[in-house]
Symmetry: D2
Subunit: 243 residues, 4 copies
């Protein structure tokens, strides 16, 4: 992929920003626009936006075929994402596309489908502060971030988090109320990599935070495909190679 731009699509449910004044005030054009803008400052990326209410949930095959890394932010309308959309996304990930699942995406259809688990957790929305610790200072995703990220307010997500053991555990979050959470996890599935990252409740401006933006930029580079594989289903009958 050297020399080529990483083609990023930032997908957003994009309802809260239209319906809730408090959210509109923070992300007037949608939080996908804020994320896209942050990525756009890095010359490595070519960014497009997509959202739930567009045809085919904004993610027709043609868009996915031209996406190297997909960001996914969904919250209250997971069930409105068509099963076919979730399948298209998951198949592309197995074929190489990177997927970055944000915040409430822990129970989104593509995430559940790719991991096979429910993403069950416990939560509380009380404006708690959080400190997000980088577990491994050498991981590419934490470069330039520092040992931790302090956020003045974030929704609380707590263990137990029903996911497979991550292939790489990147961040663990501390919450003032007494909880912990595996808030940054890499999963390798087929030719693709998935990064789950906890922050991003719609009522707090955390996607404007520079450290958070650094994580998103690093992560998009980290999950960008090594190779793209077309067929992830076929089980070919192969001749003996007569060793």
């Amino acid at each position: 992929m050297e020399g080529k731009k990483i083609r990023v699509t930032v997908w957003n449910e994009f309802r809260h920003e239209k319906e809730m004044e408090a959210v509109k005030a923070i992300y007037p054009q949608g939080l996908h626009q804020c994320i896209g803008e942050a990525l756009g400052k890095d010359a490595a990326f070519e960014v497009r936006l997509a959202s739930l209410d567009e045809p085919e949930n904004g993610l027709p095959q043609e868009v996915l075929d031209n996406t190297d890394v997909l960001f996914w932010w969904g919250h209250a309308h997971h069930q409105e994402v068509a099963d076919e959309t979730a399948k298209r996304v998951a198949d592309r990930v197995l074929g190489g596309m990177g997927l970055i699942v944000l915040h409430s995406g822990h129970i989104s259809k593509p995430f559940q489908r790719l991991l096979g688990t429910t993403g069950q957790l416990r939560w509380r929305e009380d404006g708690t502060s959080t400190r997000i610790w980088a577990v491994n200072p050498a991981h590419p995703i934490v470069q330039g971030v520092g040992p931790y990220i302090d956020l003045a307010q974030e929704e609380m997500y707590s263990e137990p988090f029903l996911i497979p053991e991550p292939d790489e555990l990147v961040f663990i979050s501390w919450y003032k109320g007494g909880e912990v959470f595996r808030s940054g996890c890499v999963f390798r599935r087929g030719a693709g990599k998935i990064f789950y990252f906890q922050p991003g409740h719609e009522t707090y401006p955390n996607y404007k935070n520079e450290q958070i933006q650094r994580v998103l930029i690093n992560a998009a580079k980290y999950v960008a495909p090594t190779v793209q594989i077309q067929d992830v289903y076929g089980c070919p009958c192969v001749p003996s190679l007569e060793y």
Copy 2:
């Protein structure tokens, strides 16, 4: 679970044995009956059989609720398993039920659903011999089996095998034609454990092999539940514990 029997259900597609003379000759009452009989010799187990053509694919909720370990053998009719059946099975695994997926079950609905991958592989049916190596002599599943199992004939399954990195790699198979395969893999998902085991093509009598039976017995004990969890979906809002 001490003192209690492990309640095993052996599920079989159970079509080949009715339709193909060659298979009927080996497993006249179905290969699930052969497996069930082998397990039944061990006092630890209480065994029942189930098959595709029974109501609700033989696996209504009530059966699953009373199953500690489910064996799954399917081959040519994966699509006839209802999506609801696959979901019921997968949810029970997340809640604690052990699942042992045999042979062609690598593309069965419950296996794909629980792992999130397609189970893609390459294969050949030419009566090749195979040697199944125990990678870790200390793993509970290989106790009493010896360093490897030689099978005079088995269907060849070859890497690349599109699965997540197993939590525990137990067996790697060698095939005379020049291939290798991760033929024994443990995956932990939620409260449940899944064991995939390659041997068992319907035209070879490999479930009558004593070493194979030893693996099945060991595996059923290994994946038997530690605990049973009812709700694997709910994401409760929790109060602050005011630390």
Copy 3:
């Protein structure tokens, strides 16, 4: 191992309890005695004690050969443990012996030797409170413990913790001061299992806590050997099996 007792040896540096009044007041006969007593209440175990100042650091080959599970508590005198002792312990673990490394044992010779990492972390001794979260409610080590353990005072240990990615992450600790720590980790090495568990600073009575004792009992059962292997070094030249 069924029907047989699990032979546990609890090893302690056993200096603080002799030299510091505050520690002596909590553990008058040594914290190994307290741990041993807790284990002794469970009929599964046969317990012996050992400590640094005994001949061969209390762990001659004969003791190790008759130990199924070794508990290790060391703090200020890691360098007084002979290299040969550390090698004997590590070799026995590779051969099957379970090892439970407590608290400051993160920089003990056997732990460093078996993991190949330094166990680097950050710490603070200010009497902070901690909450130890069970990450996976189905893990055998957390049965009967509940979702978390609250300790009124414990030494603070913080990420980044320089260890290999654990094979099984069991506990993550929260500290009032704002830190998190992977406080319960299982590593499989050869035929042996290692469990690291953070609590146990000598100036707090945390080994008297019933939940902590439950963890120690569960862990000792969990890491008890499946099999014992004599030779973990020899690389035999093997004849062709002329497949």
Copy 4:
């Protein structure tokens, strides 16, 4: 590290090539020279050679401090490598240096020290053929290599291979005599990555094979450091951040 050369040091025991005519005929200037030449064709690398009989085993601190990736080939004289050399190497790996351990290096001091296991395996030297399968076609190390590598002759290495579960399993080898082996394994330790690769017996010209060279080039890029960490031992006492 962008724009900068990856500084590679290829270390070789370099005895066989001087003492055995058969080896000298294949690698007249040493197999490290052959590997170095292969790497040198790629502009990404700056290559230097080192060998056992040089002062400080060819790896004084200053050389290691200026090495991003170290290749290690040793066979018959592992015990002549000083313990201090092994420690220097291991500490640099924890601090970020990549390490590529070749062939008999499975029982070299740095490999054993970093993994904590013995590298035990079974072997045979009978000129068998081998087929090295890429388990994951998307792994950066296998790009441009194809689905497998056929070698007409190689020393046979067989499971069980006494190593920790690899963080990434890249290759599994098939041997004509009936054995299998996890022949390409990535381990992450501290800030460093380790890649073990089986081929390279001194009496076969396998480092001249273009596919093997492709693997070595890919691997050197893959294990090149993300970051370099100076102190991997210190456990600092840290103040409360008064959250």
